[in-house]
Symmetry: C2
Subunit: 197 residues, 2 copies
């Protein structure tokens, strides 16, 4: 899709690889976003660069999950990469967080699934339990149990390299939703009698 056709095989040239990784990662997230909006689907994408940095598109839940495994505290931030606008379409509420520089922002209402994310200071076992719950919530949110929120976040890979002065956490961003109330049940546009897809 460029000046020249390329084979799909590892790019050996270091500089090209970086550029391509960046461009295609952005493209992948954009595609994921379009799929979500067009089809009222729920997509979560996690990409690890060869250097070990995690880039995430998806639920704030995935957001928190990654944080945990990077050994971060909730107040530790990660750099927001994408959403320049927030959109709410159809009956499945969907919102995009918008980066607002380093401004401090608090959520207006917050989602029902945000609560457990804020519980810090758990022991290892409890954290595991919590993650399980979070994962389940991801699944449940799709079942029509709650609103849906999508965001794209870039995570600095090694905690020790974390630079708090240049990053912003998704959870600290304002959620410019038109409505944060849970929709009264989803209308997917087709019945459940039919074979699901």
């Amino acid at each position: 899709m460029g000046r020249k056709k390329i084979e799909i095989r590892k790019i050996e040239k270091k500089s090209s690889l970086k550029v391509t990784f960046s461009k295609r990662r952005t493209g992948l997230f954009k595609k994921a976003n379009e799929l979500c909006v067009l089809c009222s689907a729920e997509a979560t994408v996690i990409v690890f660069s060869p250097g070990g940095r995690a880039f995430v598109f998806g639920h704030p839940t995935a957001d928190a999950v990654i944080d945990r495994f990077l050994g971060r505290d909730t107040d530790t931030s990660s750099r927001v990469v994408v959403p320049a606008e927030q959109v709410v379409h159809g009956q499945v509420q969907r919102q995009y967080l918008e980066a607002v520089g380093r401004a401090e922002v608090r959520e207006e209402g917050g989602f029902w699934w945000d609560a457990p994310i804020e519980n810090m200071g758990l022991n290892e076992l409890e954290q595991s339990r919590e993650m399980t719950l979070m994962m389940m919530m991801v699944m449940e949110s799709e079942s029509g149990a709650g609103p849906s929120s999508t965001t794209m976040v870039e995570y600095a890979a090694p905690p020790q390299e974390y630079n708090s002065s240049a990053v912003l956490h998704a959870r600290d961003l304002a959620a410019h939703s038109h409505s944060q109330t849970a929709p009264q049940g989803f209308d997917f546009g087709f019945g459940f009698d039919e074979p699901r897809f």
Copy 2:
């Protein structure tokens, strides 16, 4: 990208939505795959259709994780959607599972991370712990600790609607790898002294 430009907003026409979802999901997975191969990156994509069915592209780990949350046993199968070929590129070994009808296949060597996946019959808490470990392994595998395997799998959404006669689990498929031994460390083509990406 078709005969006509479309707005990125919820498709109301039921039939169009289905077709678009299917096409774009496939396209998204393809893009994820290309990103992985081109850049030695590690991508995991989970898409929930509006009907609640989960489609996954990524590690067999993600595979197992999803299984767990769908309340399935390891021996429960899911339908393989994609990989028509297996590929091994560069120094980061990457392999694609190939669907072989309903034939029963066993892994030749299996990966180091497959072991915990086979441990069934755990209590809820242990399962959580296990999942935690699996998630961590996903992270670690990117750090150069082990080989990398990618597969695309479609999961029937509700366990109760699971139809064992028409599906095939990725873990039951033959891994046509040229080599299943762990690579002697990864060469990402650039040093770690430099800023990671």
